[in-house]
Structures are given as C-alpha cells and as structure tokens.
Symmetry: C2
Subunit: 522 residues, 2 copies
C-alpha cells in the first residue's frame, strides 16, 4: 500500500470519545500486527513465481457468457487451491457455470470466515485494447505514465509497486483470488497458522448479473452460516487507501412511458388541445424528486433506517475530496444542500438514466410527439426493498391520475383514462447493511488497521449496488465488501489493469485476516 | 365544391344578432352570385383543356432547391399569364429564384386585389411514390379508394369531381395558380369584366422558408399597397368546406441544453450529489407550462390581444369535430379544460418537440447523464413577437438561477454558475390577424358565401404559422389565407394529389372574387 498517505483529518470530539469507547485504534496508536514482516519478506522473495502463476490464470479467456472458457477457469482455480492443500469442490446449479469452493478447516477454530470473488470477466471489445486482453502483459508503469513492457524475469524489480499487469480481469476480479492463494503460501512458509476456518468461494457469472448465485448459496447452508463474509470485488478508495464497506445500496429500475396522440400532430393545428407527452413526463418527473435530490413520492422515506452514531462517525472520518471532484466534473453546484457526497450516498436516490420524446435540434419538427419515455434507477437503502419502492411509485402515479399498464396500451385503453403510463420494472434487489459495532466487524477493522499501520477507510454503505443481501441471511453475521484493486484499473473497459502494489497489499491484508481474525483478543 | 355539406350548426342568439348587424348573409338567406353558372358551364366544357395545361405545368420538376428547374417553372407560369393578356414580370432579389408577378388593370377600378401562391415544391423521396412525382397521372378516384388511371381524353367525365391528379405540387401549391388562370379564361369567355385590379404573385422558394420574400416585397411597394391580399396555400377544412383564415400564428423555436457532470457518472457512487440534468430539465419545463397548456412564464400573456366579439362568433360557428378527432387520436383527455380545439388554437402555445438525455430501455445505464436537451416551438398570437417571447423565456430562466450561454459552456463557465443553459433561438416571425369586420373582409365573405351557396368557414387565426406579417404592413388592409386544395392531399409527402372538385371549386371562387370583389355593394 502507499506509505505516503496523509493523516486522516481530525475527528470531531464526540467521535474521539466514541473511538475510545469502541476500543478501535485511535490515530497514531496503531501497532504493527505480528507476521506482517514475514509475509512481506516471502512476497518479495517470490514475486516472479506469484506473478508467473497469475499471468497463467489471466491468459485463460473468461468472457462471462463463454461456457467452455469459464469452465477452464474454474478448473484452473480449483487446481490452484488443491495444490495448496485445501478441499475444493465445483458447485453448480442447473444451467449455471461452476462456482469454486475451497475450504480449509483449523482444528479447534470457533470462527469461520468466508471470502467471495468472481473469476468471470466483462465481454471485451478487442478493437479498443492496446494488447490482446487475454495475453497479459507486464509494464513498468501505467500506460498513462508511458509504461514499457518488462519481462517476468525482471521481477523482483526496484519500485515494482507501480508496475502494472494489463489483461481482462487483472483487477476485476481475479486479483483477490491470486492474493488469497499467495497469502496462504506466505503464512505456510512463515509457519503462521490460520486462526479461523476458511471458505473461499469464487463465482463464475457475476458479470452476467449472478442469476444463479441465490440458488447456489441456498443449496450450501454451510456457506451462509459463516461468521463473516468478505466480498472481495471493486477498487480501493481513490486516495489509494484500502476501504471496507459494511453494506451496499439495493437497486431497482423503471422504464416509464406516457402517451400523447396516436400519430405525431402538427403543433400549430393541435397544440394546446392534444396533450404533449413530453410535458406530461416532465411534470411527472418534477413531482417525484426535487433539485436537491430529495424524493417527493409520498411515503418514500418511511422504511429508511437511520444511521447509527458509529456510522455517522465513520462518515465524518472519510477523506474529503468533494471540492476537487466538483471542479473536475465541472459542477457549478452539488445537490443535497451542501452535504458531503459520502453522506448523500447514504440516502435513497432516484436517478433519471435517460429521457426520450420526439426529436431535438436538426431533426426537430413542429409536432406533438406520440409518447415520452424515461428510464430511472432507484438506489435503495436499508430497510427498503424493491417491491415496496415499486408499490410507492405506482401509488404516486395513480394519485396523479395515471392508469398503469404493463404493455403498450391499445386504443380503448388510451381512451378510457386521462393519463396512461406503461410501467416496466427491473426486478432489482434490496439494500444490506451490517452493524459496524458487531464484534467481528471491530476485529476486522483492528486487524486491517494493524496490517496497514493506518486506519482502514470504513464506509457504512456502498453507493453502488452489490447483492450483499444474498449473503446476509442471519442478523449478527457481518457481510462486508473488501476490495483490493487500484481505483484507476479501467474495470469493465479496455486496457483493464492491476497495479502490483495493490496485489502486494492484498496479500498482506489477506494474510493478516487469515492468521488473526477469530484469534484476535476482544 | 361538395353539394352535400350539412347546414352549419345553429349559431347562438347573440351571434345571430351580430350576423344581422354585420349585414352578412344569415342561414338560408344566401343568394347565388351572378356569373356562377356561366363560369361553371365554361369549366364543364373545357375540363380537358384546363387539366391538359395543368398536367404540363406539373410535369416540370420543381424541387425548391433546384435552381434551373425552378426557373423553368417561373418561365412557364409567366408565359401562361402573358397568353391571357396580363402584364408579367419576373422579380428577383440577389440570390433568390424569380417570383412571378402578373398584373391586370381595370380602367376606373378603385380596388386592387393581390393573390399569392408558390410554385416550388417540397423535395421528393422517389422511393415512396407510387408513380414518378413529375409524371402527373390522372386517376378516377383516390389511391385509397383504388382509383384507376384514366386518360386525359376521358374528360369531361361523369362524377369527375372525385378524380385526382397525382404529382408533386398538384395541391401544394400549383393548384391555385391553375385555378386563377382558368378563372380569368372563364370570365373572359362569359364577357364578365373584372371589378378590381389584380396582382398575381407567385413565389419560388416557399418550401425553403421564403428567405427572400421580405426583401422582394419591400422592393415592390405597389404590391404591399394592395387593398387585400389573398394568400392561397394549404388545404380546405377537413369537412371539405372552403375556409378563410384572417390571420396566422407566428412562431419561434428554442433549442435548450442544460448540464450535468462533464462525463457520465455512476449513479450509485454520485447520485444525489452530482446534479442530474434530466431532472433539471424536467423541473424547468414543468415550470413553463401546465398540463392544460397554459404558459406559466411570468408576463407571457401580456401582449395577447383579446378576440373581438365577431371573432368569437366565428369560432362558435365552426364545424365541431373535436370528439371524433379525440377518439381517432386515442386521447383520453384534451388540454384546455374542455375548451374546443378551435378556441384553444387562438392562444399562445408552448410545444415540446422533443427531449433527449442519456439513454432509455435496453441502452440505459445506471449513470447520471452529462446533459439534457429540449426542443420547443412557441406559437405566437397577436400582438406577440419573437423578440419579446424570447426575452420573457430568458428572464424566466434567469429567475430560476440559470446563466444563459449561446455556445457549449467551457469548464470555467460551468463552475461559475449553479445552473447553465445553452439557448439557441430559431428566429421565427410574429403573428398577424386582420380585423374580420373590415369592409373588404365582409365583402370577401359575402362573395364567397354567394358563390358557395353556403357560408364559408371563417377562422380568425390559423393555428399553423404562415408569415402573413410580411404582407400585413398597413393596418386596415386585410391579409387573408384562402386555401383551395383538398385536406387529404398528402401535402409534403409522397403521392401528393389534387381532387378535381377542389380545382373546379377554386375556379368558381376565384372567378367570383375577380368579378365581384371591389364592386360589391356595401
């Protein structure tokens, strides 16, 4: 990890008090965890072998829809962990690619930690890649910094933390799989035992929306009974500091269509009489959300769970980058009445993804359009769920005089109601949030703080949606999002890459978690 | 004209009183005008010659942008009227196609009537035409009614009123030119003298937006000093009854863009903080016009001239087709609180031609779009003018906190204001309306009523926009829109056509106007 992190900003007084109450390490009081040096030495001595194995994994094409390719990846990963002495099974639901489950039991251990990553990748558009996405290449810096190819044999190399591997899934999401395997090697080499039972679970269809994940988990009750789930996906904070998310927003999506005349009408001859669907849509959207982001649909906030004092404290401690970001994005104002981005993301959101009606600019005609469409995503926070949000939105539409239909309305349906709205929902899923004050959450933070020699960034809820709810079936068993990839990894796009320091840091953090979580003194 | 017109609906009592006060012919009291029978007999005996000459005119390609073709049309029309003894000139402004001016003076006449038509046509998309658009074809019914080709020699034919000529500009707008020429022939043949001086003015670039019309008219002060302008363009009423419009709405157009972040942002990570431009646009549009069509921009209605009692009476007398139209168009409601289409068209209107932001349906992504665009047309009524409307809209934007820019804003401009709107106006033109109670207007209506043996439909203002204001330079000199083509003529589209009865009716109406207007007893 970067050693040049600035100190976090001073927490407010009440937050310091809470920090002490919570027993978490305060600024400057973090002790180096045992074993960190041994793991680092192991890694430094074995960089070429680690990266060599990783390049082999990355050379397996893994487009999420390519069944035979995906299976080859699963078998490769299964072999990786069998070599390391773990018990490995491939788990399949009907029609699903195999998930890989690698297990290691520790005699007498009372804690079971489960870790998730996925080995499938986004489809690639080869034209946009500088190199073949499945012929991984090692550069001595990022492409943006004019990195040049270096052979594997150049490792270990001076300053290699900034070297990068370019390949599909180099960061998203094979990196945690490699880091976990190397962490196990390092601990074994140093003779450091694991403290908890381990269940490493690797999915093969995350980029396809995880259609079978719920069924696979339900069929493996032992997995869901783990004391802690670490979901390892996504990037670290843009300051390059590691972060953990104790929850994630849920999501649902709406395609909404409202109607004007059956055919486009001359605006001069029919305007003011034939309803304009773009105006109907504008009025409708304007009534659902205000300019500060507040959702004005009746009853919408009822199920929103308040943040705890500890969660608020964590928000206050976050690195502040809002002003720089605002300038970078060319924003003359931000929503939310001046509140921080981090705090605003804790709220439910309604985002208009797109609107369409008639034509604009050169194609515009003096006509009343026949329909207007909006595409909306709703981000849900605990304890909202899609069915309830959908019901509230539909009640709002009805209260505005709309008849709701699921298919394009026929003539009689149009004539029967003053306003007709076609409503199509994307199913979506609910939000999930783990109480940060649970003992295992505190242990997790302490182990990471000690491994990092700096406080890990703690975020109550990821703004982006992750189906954490699938893992969170038992209250009191934490489910946490713990990413290791660099933030500038071109995830999902061309020239996806992994910064080596992020892999090195991942190895150290996983080794610390494997060796100390479950054994840590409370 | 159709002889099967039903009686117009009974006017309200106050309207009858006004009718009598105005001296206009009341229901059932219309007398046949002198000369109508002679003109009809002439036409019946000369149908083949009239249509023969017309087919020749229609066989000249006249796409509005095709300079040499356009000039051939001008020369053909000039020759037509020279043969008929009129004084003809081609008038050109720099860079314009020639306008044709054919004049006939009557010794002792105190009134000068000017008539306008245009001889250029909309560009054609030949693929969509059943026949070559410039090889006119005569069918014994409309294509919709399975009309079959008939030779010119079949004329005069029984029931030929429903025969049709298919060709570009058959109705828009060469039909009035042919009808005027045949009317002059019929009057000469019957020995009926013209009552007024005539100025027949034919433009060659109407379909290109008349870019030189103002300059040409300004350079011919004699034209603008005519006592009455009849602008002959467009279709008759959908009931097939002839109509006159005493004005037309003006128009201006707006392309409006509002801004979000410089690049699309993940809605989960930035939603509720980075402003959503589609929502900004929806709020803005919703604040400019309500669901009943009323424009809610401050001060917008200040320059709207009230309708006169006579104008209201004319509206009340219009054929009512709203309910059938509403059903045909699939409208569950109409705007304007139940007021009639005819009455609503007398008001200013704001029509959203289109809106665009982000993507919808399959292309939608969970992202905050970078901008949102709306295209709007404003229809103006007397005494609104574009500059004033534009100023009101911009004042409205400013009152909502928007900085107005004319080009896509740079980073500093975006950062300097909470809201930025790029505003681009289409110049447009003002509305025009002639007082229906002017003596020449009353004469016009009386002559047409007598020629038709039924009241002509009188409409104070055309909902569609026509640059009548260019002709209306002197208060008290009426400018009236007087169309003759069938309403189902496929104007501007493929398979444009003219119903022969509309040509026959046009000949009779022009003959009546030429022979009686200016001589009619007041």
């Amino acid at each position: 990890m970067r050693r040049d992190n600035g100190r976090i900003q001073k927490p407010a007084v009440f937050a310091i008090v809470l920090t002490l109450l919570a027993g978490a390490a305060a600024e400057g009081g973090i002790q180096r965890g045992a074993g960190v040096e041994e793991v680092r030495s192991y890694r430094a001595a074995h960089e070429r072998a680690i990266i060599g194995e990783y390049l082999e994994m990355l050379s397996l094409p893994n487009g999420t829809a390519d069944g035979p390719d995906i299976r080859r990846n699963a078998e490769f990963i299964a072999a990786m962990f069998r070599r390391r002495g773990l018990t490995v099974r491939l788990i399949e639901a009907e029609g699903s690619p195999p998930a890989v489950l690698a297990e290691q039991s520790v005699p007498g251990a009372k804690t079971t930690i489960a870790l998730y990553a996925h080995y499938d990748g986004q489809p690639v558009n080869r034209e946009n890649w500088t190199h073949d996405p499945w012929q991984p290449i090692l550069l001595n810096a990022s492409m943006d910094n004019r990195g040049q190819p270096v052979p594997l044999e150049a490792l270990p190399g001076a300053g290699d933390g900034e070297w990068r591997i370019y390949a599909r899934s180099a960061s998203d999401d094979k990196a945690p799989i490699m880091a976990m395997a190397a962490a196990l090697d390092a601990l074994r080499s140093a003779g450091i035992p694991a403290a908890a039972n381990l269940k490493l679970f690797f999915e093969g269809e995350e980029e396809a929306g995880s259609p079978h994940l719920g069924r696979i988990l339900a069929a493996e009750p032992g997995l869901l009974r783990a004391d802690l789930w670490l979901l390892c996906d996504g990037p670290v904070h843009s300051t390059r500091r590691p972060q953990v998310f104790f929850g994630a927003r849920g999501v649902t999506g709406l395609e909404l269509t409202v109607y004007g005349p059956l055919r486009p009408l001359h605006s001069g001859h029919y305007g003011n009489w034939a309803p304009n669907p773009a105006l109907i849509l504008a009025q409708l959207l304007a009534g659902m959300r205000d300019l500060e982001g507040a959702i004005t649909i009746e009853g919408y906030g009822a199920k929103v769970r308040d943040l705890t004092v500890e969660e608020r404290r964590a928000l206050d401690a976050l690195p502040q980058a809002d002003e720089a970001l605002r300038r970078e994005l060319g924003l003359g104002r931000t929503e939310g009445g001046g509140k921080s981005l981090a705090e605003l993301i804790m709220r439910p959101s309604l985002n208009i993804r797109g609107i369409r009606s008639g034509e604009v600019e050169d194609k515009a005609q003096n006509a009343i359009p026949t329909e207007a469409r909006a595409s909306i995503d709703f981000r849900l926070v605990p304890d909202q769920c899609p069915a309830e949000v959908q019901a509230l939105v539909e009640a709002h539409l009805r209260s505005r005089g709309f008849r709701i239909v699921r298919e394009t309305p026929d003539l009689e349906t149009r004539l029967a109601s003053p306003f007709v709205a076609k409503v199509r929902w994307e199913e979506g899923y609910p939000a999930a949030r783990t109480d940060m004050s649970l003992p295992l959450c505190r242990d997790l933070v302490r182990v990471l703080d000690e491994a990092l020699e700096a406080p890990v960034i703690r975020i109550p809820l990821s703004g982006g949606s992750v189906p954490m709810y699938l893992f969170q079936t038992t209250p009191g068993r934490p489910v946490v999002l713990f990413p290791i990839a660099n933030h500038d990894n071109n995830q999902h796009g061309a020239d996806e890459n992994l910064r080596l320091q992020n892999l090195w840091d991942g190895i150290e953090m996983f080794a610390a978690l494997f060796s100390r979580l479950g054994a840590v003194r409370r």
